[in-house]
């Protein structure tokens, strides 16, 4: 009698690897093994995981074509099967997987488009948070406003790309015919967030990503603006702050204590 743990191990190994023989002692009503029957489980596992990736990465599927996408997804599933039963989390790391696939090197923007799709999904399922009333910031004395630390909405994600990744994504999620994009020209940074019911996706102005990344890392408003200014001279703090507050992406603010010299 084989212990159940060992049996499960055999079954599991054969599910993951199509070249692996089916586990022994798995039989049809005639008492004989039948590989077709085991293959139903193997197909269920592999197809369901590929379908999960298809649902999460529709623009990538459209860019690659259905056949190529299945091949790529199959390789990802074999290399990075789910570690959790919460399938809405499955597929993290797909962008990085695409980036290192040699045959896809001719499509260098692909990984960034996948990052946007992943960010969209994460924003969709992210925790809820209430936007900060802009009046609360207005109460901060002007000379202290640079010391503000702002909490960003938990759904907010930023994707920085050396390519027009946002435009490519937009053109490949709509039910329209694909349009040629002038690739080499524009780098695009994208903001993805769900401040309320709908996921919002939009382009960030120059310096915007540096600004939000700094705020997200806990830097003060002054420090974050300085970092954004260093990244892009045309960065405009007032515009950015107004846009953030207006779209409900700031959920809290506090003043950082100024350090006293000598301590």
């Amino acid at each position: 009698m084989r212990p159940w743990a060992e049996r499960q191990g055999q079954f599991a190994a054969a599910l993951c690897n199509v070249e692996h023989p089916m586990p022994p002692g798995c039989i049809a009503p005639d008492g004989l093994p039948d590989a077709t029957r085991f293959a139903v489980y193997r197909n269920n596992v592999i197809s369901s995981l590929i379908e999960c990736l298809q649902a999460s990465y529709p623009a990538i599927e459209r860019l690659l074509g259905a056949t190529c996408f299945r091949e790529v997804a199959f390789r990802f599933v074999a290399e990075a099967p789910p570690r959790s039963a919460v399938m809405l989390e499955y597929g993290a790391g797909f962008a990085e997987f695409l980036a290192q696939l040699e045959p896809l090197a001719a499509l260098p923007y692909l990984a960034d488009v996948a990052r946007i799709e992943r960010a969209w999904l994460e924003a969709y399922h992210a925790a809820e948070a209430t936007a900060l009333d802009p009046a609360a910031l207005a109460a901060v004395p002007e000379h202290r406003s640079g010391d503000l630390c702002l909490t960003l909405h938990p759904s907010m994600r930023i994707v920085q790309s050396a390519f027009p990744a946002l435009t490519i994504w937009q053109l490949n999620i709509a039910a329209t015919a694909p349009i040629a994009v002038d690739l080499p020209t524009v780098a695009q940074d994208t903001l993805i967030a769900r401040p309320d019911a709908e996921v919002e996706v939009r382009a960030l102005p120059p310096g915007g990503a540096a600004f939000l990344n700094a705020l997200g890392a806990g830097e003060t408003l002054a420090e974050s603006a300085a970092l954004a200014g260093a990244a892009a001279a045309e960065f405009n703090l007032t515009d950015q702050l107004t846009a953030l507050l207006g779209s409900g992406l700031i959920t809290a603010g506090r003043l950082k204590r100024r350090r006293t010299r000598g301590h």
């Binding site: 029957r37 596992v45 099967p81 039963a85 809405l88 399922h125 992210a126």
Partner: protein, 304 residues
């Protein structure tokens, strides 16, 4: 083994009752959220896959909260891996307990199957041999779920494509013994009965005769696809992608005639139809329920 704890008194989630009535329900799917809220169809209850609501927030929770305030709910887990030899994933169990507390479902169910091994989740309901060892493991896991949730769960009979030569129990006897030892209820999936009996060469009427019908608290109905095995024997695939088959409707009518009215779910997970098609399947189940000799028999009232 101690009997499962009684559910805590329902807190007011909204006007909808907690108990799942002995009517027909349907699986709740995202493409139907808006139609349901806009048209408020006359449906006995909705069922959701627990794992689809394990995100932190977002539209799934917003819609489910709205729909739960208007309809009874049953919570159907597909990822706990109760049939595995290894321990249950405590993190996953905590997530399930949190959903149970948040949405106050009238019924909570899981599968006689495994889906995780060696840290990998296979996203499918995989079969187990029916032996002393697996019986002990399944019962221990159900006891753990009962403790974590503070309520009884239902265990669903599987659809299977193969058998293990080391099995020493018939499937029906195994399920009856699990229910007797663990105190769990049973979810009778009539489509799974038909699929498993076809695939294993069993007689479905005999299967139902031996099944622990007195423990059945809910029924599932779904569609399957015909195929054949490597030697040309019929092999049915549990696809949930089409209407319930005529033979499964016949078996269902037989079960209801024996058992009286039981909450009955139409499961349709792939190639999702428009809402009216799904609602029509539920209406068909309700006509069978309405013809039952003992509707709303107290013995079969929903737990909770």
């Amino acid at each position: 083994m101690a009997p499962p704890l009684s559910p805590s008194p329902a807190r007011a989630v909204g006007p909808a009752a907690r108990a799942v009535p002995a009517r027909a329900g349907v699986g709740l799917k995202a493409p139907h959220y808006r139609t349901i809220l806009q048209t408020r169809p006359d449906i006995g209850f909705f069922e959701v896959h627990a794992e689809n609501y394990m995100g932190a927030g977002g539209p799934p929770h917003r819609y489910l909260t709205e729909i739960r305030s208007r309809y009874p709910l049953s919570l159907h887990g597909v990822g706990l891996s109760i049939g595995a030899d290894g321990p249950l994933d405590r993190t996953h169990l905590r997530r399930l307990a949190a959903l149970n507390e948040r949405y106050e479902p009238g019924l909570v169910s899981e599968h006689l199957a495994w889906s995780s091994h060696g840290g990998i989740f296979f996203n499918d309901l995989l079969p187990l041999p029916y032996t002393q060892r697996t019986l002990q493991r399944v019962c221990a896991h159900i006891a753990q779920v009962h403790d974590a949730l503070g309520r009884q769960i239902l265990l669903e009979n599987p659809s299977t494509y193969l058998a293990f030569e080391e099995s020493t129990y018939e499937e029906t006897d195994f399920i009856a013994e699990v229910a007797r030892r663990s105190g769990c209820g049973v979810l009778l999936d009539v489509n799974n009965v038909y699929v498993a009996c076809t695939n294993q060469g069993w007689d479905p009427l005999r299967y139902l005769q031996r099944f622990p019908l007195a423990q059945v608290r809910q029924i599932h109905l779904a569609g399957h696809a015909p195929d054949q095995d490597g030697r040309g024997a019929p092999l049915l695939i549990d696809t949930h992608d089409r209407p319930v088959s005529a033979l499964v409707w016949d078996l269902y009518a037989h079960v209801i005639a024996t058992l009286g009215a039981v909450p009955t779910l139409i499961e349709w997970d792939q190639h999702l139809p428009e809402w009216p098609t799904l609602q029509a399947e539920a209406r068909r189940a309700e006509t069978v329920l309405a013809a039952s000799p003992c509707q709303e028999a107290p013995r079969h009232a929903a737990v909770g």
